[in-house]
């Protein structure tokens, strides 16, 4: 059954800098899914577990984080910390009997690389497959 998912993306300021240029028009042209609500953060290492859970409480069907490559984080270990917190949320979702795949971490290079759009499409397809969040 097809549905319009609501996906929240928390992206590192540096990773998404070019992607957001011209108010995201370039992203739109490249086919970045409209289902994704992009929230830019100074560093993904600042994200707390509660921030990710709150996105689910606010109605997200899926949540993902895009941060710097692990060996090239502007803040050294920020994206590694984010990955740990995403893992913690995944475990907690599974404890609640919900698919852990609804939350995901990606490490991507800076700039508007095809991967940024590809991972958005990947996440959109995954949430389409999983269906609406059971928290709704």
């Amino acid at each position: 059954m097809s549905f319009d998912p609501a996906i929240t993306l928390f992206s590192c300021h540096y990773t998404s800098q070019q992607s957001c240029a011209e108010e995201g028009k370039k992203l739109e042209q490249l086919g970045f899914p409209a289902s994704i609500d992009l929230v830019r953060v100074p560093c993904t290492g600042k994200l707390q577990i509660t921030t990710l859970l709150q996105a689910f409480e606010d109605g997200a069907d899926g949540v993902y984080v895009v941060g710097c490559p692990t060996d090239g984080c502007h803040n050294v270990k920020g994206s590694m910390r984010a990955a740990k917190r995403v893992d913690a949320v995944r475990v907690a979702l599974e404890e609640l009997g919900v698919e852990g795949g609804r939350v995901q971490m990606y490490h991507l290079p800076r700039g508007l690389h095809p991967e940024f759009v590809a991972k958005g499409k990947e996440m959109d397809a995954r949430i389409q497959d999983l269906g609406p969040s059971p928290f709704k």
Binding site: Q48, T50, L53, Q54, E57, L96, G97
Partner: protein, 222 residues
């Protein structure tokens, strides 16, 4: 410090499934230091309870707050300011905190969010290890400061046993044989002879085998 871990969410959701409003109460003592039941963990737990209840088609109001400690009468009194806001408390304190609230607030149902694990220390970031068993009859002065009660799998008083191999315990290759370490440490202080002193049969009554324990200090009571 007292080291603890959060209970499985299914267990916690089961506890509160008939509640309409709860107080998730953090403790700013030991469980904050071991990242199990401080303010941050209580916020996470509250969110998970709301999500779990939503998934079950139920709604719940949650106030999340904290006390300086849940093991002192004076701090428990602070709970009363929120008493209209909950019909049960989910405590993220250790078992002491849950017992204290139960002792002092007869009308309040208290549920434990944590499994209280042991007395330990932070070995590395994110890793805690047991160091003390609270046995009430400390022998650390005889064992180089390393505790055989907590850290020997058999709590031997005259170790090591035959299961000690290359400094590790027979129960697992990652477990240190504490008696080997005691021997090495005493040796480094030229006190190896202490190893030959036979410890007498131990009276375990101070370790809780004689019932719940109590410490009374007459100089502090009024």
């Amino acid at each position: 410090m007292i080291v603890a871990e959060r209970k499985p969410m299914a267990e916690i959701i089961e506890m509160v499934q008939d509640c309409k409003k709860i107080l998730v109460l953090a403790c700013r003592g030991c469980v904050t230091v071991c990242s199990a039941g401080g303010e941050r963990e209580a916020e996470i737990l509250s969110s998970l309870i709301r999500l779990g209840m939503k998934k079950a088609g139920k709604s719940i109001e949650i106030r999340t707050d904290s006390l300086v400690r849940q093991c002192d009468r004076e701090y428990i009194d602070e709970m009363d300011q929120w008493k209209e806001e909950y019909d049960a408390v989910v405590s993220t304190a250790c078992g002491v905190g849950v017992n204290f609230i139960s002792n002092l607030r007869k009308e309040t149902m208290v549920y434990p969010a944590l499994n209280t694990s042991f007395f330990g220390g932070s070995a590395e970031q994110g890793e805690w290890t047991e160091q003390c068993a609270g046995c009430g009859d400390c022998v650390l002065h005889l064992t180089g400061g390393l505790c055989p009660v907590a850290r020997c799998a058999k709590s031997l008083m005259n170790g090591p046993c035959g299961g000690s191999v290359d400094g590790t315990c027979e129960i697992h290759k990652d477990v240190e044989c504490i008696w080997q370490s005691i021997h090495d440490r005493l040796g480094s202080f030229d006190k190896s002879a202490q190893m030959e002193v036979i410890a007498p049969i131990r009276d375990w009554s101070s370790a809780g085998h004689g019932g719940p324990r109590k410490v009374v200090r007459d100089d502090l009571t009024v």
